[in-house]
């Protein structure tokens, strides 16, 4: 009987008729569920339903079920709330969790529908006719000065700021080396290069081995300034100042000492085994003018590469975004309240912030009202689950989207939410050498490339159905969306008409 008097969440059942006693389950489980005492035994209380054992059992002898233990139903006192109290009564402390918000908050994307052309406008066939997804991230001028050169041609007089060129409007969101394994970072870098997009280092610095991928990396400068030195700043096409993230708006990051091995220590430039604590604010950004100062310090240090600022979406995100644009940022990364993380207090992850869809709509609109929309590109992230979400985010106004959770799921993640333990059986959110070796870099890169390619094809089909052959005609084109089942006020805030209008 476990000390906190809690029943197991999952029940692991081994079919001993089928069990071959190969012991692969014991080897594969990162959480120590299995043992062998004359036959394979399982301690269900340790199971997190990550399915590693199920996938690798050659006889399909293992089933994992939700513990069917009956609780008296109560629509206010959901079972997880009762369990949280038992846990907190057992040992005082904050409930910690991983990945993104899992509560049944309304999902705005799931209440938005996309238009299609019929009769009055032809759809375009993406398999046979040109369909363009190329996207540039960075500051754009208000207009261009162009003079005739006297020879029938034209000369461009305006000098443009540097931009990042993407072949697809999908990037890999920042996940720190430390919260994820080095092989995960390697797979992301290789995939980003193959796809013509970028990955983001997250706040843990960049392992030296990945410097050759600089053309496809955005380096992050977070409040802990882990691994930030001049070579690092130049090992990417842009620098991102991480002010906040969707999973934990307002608070800093926390990588427990168990995950700081030698390599992580070397990359982050902190001693082995110490906790890596990112302070809540950047201690040199207490107000917006400080942000401007940091942005230009970074520009000077990198020869004026684009600077991105990543923020969590909170109530006054529109005003904050406007301030950030005026502070000199070239890109704003909006991380919605469903954004993932390796570790966050559950109360913050689940109850703080606002949905990405709404933040995106108000930020895009506010920047347009102020006539400065072209000063920044917007990256939208935090719960992008499919190509449908990508299309809708772009129509609401995003220049590109970032995927974190989706990328990890492509690598095998089952969303068990135990990243902070460092026991990830899939070799993703761990630093234990016996586990990290499991993620094959080439295999992982291929899966990431497949995922983004599949979504690109689907995105092109959506564009074709809309009668559009270049993604810039979908960007901000809210006229091609309709809401279904959303209240009138929210539809108004999104500036999307309800279906039927």
């Amino acid at each position: 009987m476990p000390g906190d008097m809690l029943p197991s969440e999952f029940i692991v059942d081994v079919d001993h008729q089928r069990c071959r006693r190969c012991k692969r389950c014991i080897l594969n489980c990162g959480f120590g569920v299995f043992d062998f005492q004359s036959m394979t035994t399982a301690d269900s209380s340790k199971c997190v339903a990550c399915h590693r054992c199920v996938v690798f059992c050659p006889e399909e002898a293992i089933t994992i079920t939700k513990n069917p233990l009956a609780f008296r139903e109560h629509s206010s006192w959901e079972v997880y709330l009762r369990k949280n109290i038992w846990k907190q009564a057992q040992s005082s402390g904050m409930m910690l969790t991983g990945m993104g918000n899992d509560l049944p908050w309304l999902n705005v994307f799931d209440h938005i529908l996309i238009d299609a052309c019929q009769v009055t406008n032809p759809s375009i066939d993406p398999l046979r006719e040109p369909m363009e997804l190329r996207t540039y991230l960075g500051r754009k001028p208000d207009s261009l000065e162009i003079k005739a050169d006297g020879d029938g041609g034209f000369d461009l007089e305006t000098k443009l700021e540097s931009n990042i060129k993407l072949d697809v409007p999908i990037i890999f969101s920042g996940m720190s080396y430390g919260s994820v394994s080095l092989n995960t970072h390697r797979a992301l870098a290789v995939a980003a290069e193959k796809l013509g997009t970028v990955m983001n280092t997250g706040e843990g610095g960049l392992h030296e081995e990945l410097y050759p991928y600089a053309g496809n990396i955005i380096v992050q400068c977070a409040s802990g300034r882990f691994g930030v030195h001049p070579k690092y700043l130049n090992a990417g096409v842009a620098v991102e100042i991480k002010v906040g993230q969707g999973a934990k708006p307002g608070i800093g990051g926390h990588l427990p000492g168990e995950k700081i091995g030698r390599e992580v220590s070397g990359t982050r430039m902190i001693p082995v085994g110490t906790d890596a604590l990112s302070p809540a604010p950047h201690h040199d950004i207490y107000s917006i003018e400080d942000l401007r100062q940091l942005i230009y310090a970074l520009k000077e240090a990198t020869g004026y590469k684009p600077v991105s600022v990543k923020i969590a979406t909170v109530h006054n995100v529109a005003a904050i975004a406007s301030g950030i644009a005026r502070a000199g940022a070239d890109i704003i990364y909006l991380d919605g309240f469903r954004g993932g993380t390796g570790a966050s207090p559950a109360v913050i992850r689940d109850h703080v912030g606002i949905p990405l869809e709404i933040a995106l709509a108000v930020v895009d609109q506010r920047l347009r009202e102020e006539g400065i929309r072209n000063w920044v590109s917007i990256i939208a992230a935090g719960g992008i689950r499919s190509s449908a979400d990508v299309a809708k985010a772009i129509a609401l106004g995003a220049d590109a989207v970032g995927i974190g959770t989706a990328a990890l799921i492509a690598l095998g993640c089952r969303l068990c939410q135990k990243c902070y333990t460092g026991n990830c059986s899939w070799g993703i959110a761990t630093q234990r050498p016996e586990l990290t070796g499991r993620l094959d870099v080439d295999w992982g890169a291929e899966r990431l490339v497949n995922l983004v390619n599949s979504w690109s094809l689907e995105l092109k089909e959506v564009l074709g159905a809309l009668g559009i052959n270049a993604v810039e005609s979908l960007r901000g084109n809210r006229e091609r969306l309709r809401t279904l089942g959303l209240d009138a006020t929210t539809s108004e805030i999104l500036d999307v008409k309800p279906a039927g209008r």
Partner: protein, 355 residues
């Protein structure tokens, strides 16, 4: 193949006068491209007597709207002449609104008070009237040119407005088959801002973002029809941003990345890349063929994959552009040359001298 909307246009590049009956004849041939829910024309060089003044064509639903509008006009403009637009009652043109025209210029003191150029001042005034005065629309606001439009078949609209009584060096015509909005007088083509008049065949799938982009610069899209954005885009890109006409066309019907990347000339690649980067929200997607009239010329343009028909022809100094060759051949039986413009490349006729 849906064949909605018919277009036709002609310009005499030497500035010779062409009677309004010519463009009506051309439109008559392509009658079936419309469905009677809208028709219209624009003529250039039709008001030589008032050539330096803005010629405002206004439609009023009722007298109170006219009174209110005239107050605004009196306040801001020196009005040289004001009169009803001459029309011939017709069975085909039902329940016309009040149709008036005013030849005017902005009051000097108003211009200095607002610190605006005359053109910007007029644009603002027109937007103001169209958004604030109920049942009233200024549907033409250029100099020495005018838009004439109504609900009805093009040839009937032309007769109603007595176009054969006018002569001009450029005429464009349109017969409408509306796709998204019911037929109403303001929604007929041509759409106008200052001396730009646009007739359009097709539907803009990028309308939502073109509109929001233009709103950033103060243009109000009030006429419920996607074509409106094309008129404003020409005004913005050419008059406000000073882009050469051909470059503005490149923005609206941009070449494909695969063709931009293929160009050996690095400066050219950078030019087109910069244009697409900066003006992505002005890319016009969706099938379109447009004919645009402006003070010094006329232009025909197709979308980047030519989903709508457009034919051009020339004879001596005359340039013709139309949806169908037969519309040209009706008024020019033996042209010197007939050709099909390429996708995304404009056909341009320009006045050689002064008029």
């Amino acid at each position: 193949m849906p064949a909605a909307c018919g277009l036709s246009g002609v310009i005499s590049q030497d500035g010779h006068p062409i009677g309004g009956d010519v463009i009506i004849e051309s439109m008559r041939v392509i009658h079936d491209r419309g469905n009677g829910l809208g028709g219209g024309f624009a003529g250039y060089g039709i008001y030589p007597r008032y050539r330096e003044l803005y010629a405002l064509h206004v439609m009023f639903e009722d007298p109170p709207g006219k009174e209110l509008c005239e107050e605004l006009l009196e306040r801001d403009l020196e009005i040289e002449a004001a009169e009803e637009i001459p029309t011939t009652p017709s069975d085909e043109i039902v329940e016309p609104p009040l149709l008036w025209r005013y030849f005017a210029a902005p009051r000097g003191e108003k211009l200095s008070a607002e610190g605006l150029e005359a053109d910007d001042f007029m644009v603002q005034l027109v937007m103001d009237i169209n958004t604030t005065v109920p049942g009233t629309f200024v549907f033409s606001s250029g100099k020495n040119m005018g838009v004439f439009k109504a609900v009805g078949f093009a040839e009937d609209v032309g007769e109603f407005y007595r176009l054969p009584d006018y002569t001009g060096y450029t005429w464009i015509g349109h017969g409408r088959f509306p796709t998204n909005t019911p037929g109403w007088w303001g929604g007929a083509h041509p759409f106008n801002i200052l001396d730009w008049a646009i007739v359009h065949n097709g539907e803009l799938s990028s309308y939502g973002i073109n509109k929001r982009y233009l709103e950033m610069f103060g243009y109000q899209c009030t006429l419920l029809t996607d074509t409106e954005v094309m008129a404003y885009l020409f005004d913005l890109l050419i008059r406000k941003h000073n882009l050469p006409l051909e470059v503005a066309c490149t923005v609206m019907a941009a070449p494909f990345w695969k063709d931009i990347d293929f160009d050996d000339d690095r400066a050219q690649r950078h030019l087109y890349e910069s244009l697409r980067m900066t003006y992505g929200s002005a890319l016009v997607n969706g099938p379109f063929a447009v004919i645009a009239g402006f003070s010094r010329g006329m232009m025909g343009l197709n979308d980047r994959i030519k989903l709508r028909p457009l034919v051009a022809a020339c004879k001596d100094d005359l340039l013709y552009v139309s949806s169908e060759e037969s519309a040209i051949r009706q008024i020019c039986p033996r042209p010197d040359r007939v050709w099909a413009p390429k996708a995304g490349r404009p056909v341009v006729g320009e006045l050689k001298g002064d008029v």
